[in-house]
């Protein structure tokens, strides 16, 4: 049950970040940071389909985390959900076409081993 919840959280977090990146790329790099520009930014992001999907996924992830810590140890829940880094990196490579070097893959491998130790 604990691992089922971890899977739901990890899937939701991973999709949340993926949608967030797709939305932000569609929007383009942010250059202006004064208050008026941030207002325009928020208004534009609130109409971005990817960003809306991302917020929904992140909300699902948070409610999943609430369910998880209501039954599981905090010292399990926090590191277990770090496994999202593994799937985020794989999707960053496959979907977002980011260059992932050996050092990043090694880091991801260490995280995977760490999560495996929690089981």
């Amino acid at each position: 049950m604990k691992w089922l919840l971890v899977s739901v959280i990890v899937a939701a977090t991973t999709l949340g970040y993926l949608f967030q990146v797709l939305g932000m790329r569609q929007h383009g790099e942010i250059h202006e940071f004064h208050l008026g520009a941030l207002g325009v930014l928020l208004a534009s992001l609130a109409r971005n389909g990817w960003i809306i999907l991302s917020v929904l996924a992140m909300a699902a992830s948070f409610f999943g985390f609430m369910a998880l810590v209501s039954v599981a140890d905090l010292s399990f829940a926090v590191p277990a959900t770090a496994s999202s880094l593994i799937f985020e990196t794989v999707l960053a490579r496959l979907v977002l076409k980011e260059a992932v070097g050996w050092q990043r893959w090694t880091g991801v491998g260490l995280v995977a081993c760490g999560v495996a130790l929690l089981a």
Partner: protein, 138 residues
């Protein structure tokens, strides 16, 4: 001055994350299992004082992290705040009386090592030739 500001915000990011998760967990233990509960049960749980305090701290955490990232590199923020994984285990052990096995400590250690390693790689790999996160002040 910036170094001082950075340390203050890094400490705030770590503190609000660890204490926020701790209060959230303490509150939800009192509320009881949410697994398989209808959506309304989750909304109701948010009004439990400890859960509300935890969620508020987690909101501060997100804002503090975004603020820190406006001048600090992600490759600085990720390893520095990954100490939060260790502190979550310590908080579970001390305040929630959880049994943290040797395997669990080992797992936490490997995750921190992994995060530190990933953060030592370039921040952006798509832009050429130089990826700079420094924003221009308008």
């Amino acid at each position: 001055m910036v170094a001082h500001k950075t340390r203050v915000f890094a400490a705030l990011v770590i503190f609000t994350n660890v204490v926020g998760n701790l209060l959230l967990t303490m509150g939800l233990r009192q509320v009881g299992s949410l697994v398989g509960s209808p959506p309304m049960a989750y909304i109701q749980a948010l009004f439990h004082p400890l859960v509300a305090a935890g969620v508020s701290l987690l909101v501060v955490w997100m804002i503090a992290q975004m603020t820190l990232l406006s001048w600090a590199d992600l490759s600085y923020v990720l390893p520095v705040t990954s100490i939060g994984y260790v502190l979550a285990a310590v908080a579970g052990r001390v305040f929630l009386h959880e049994q943290v096995t040797l395997n669990r400590w080992g797992g936490v250690g490997l995750i921190v090592l992994g995060v530190v390693l990933v953060s030592r790689t370039p921040v952006a790999t798509r832009q050429a030739p130089v990826a700079t996160r420094k924003r221009e002040v308008a």
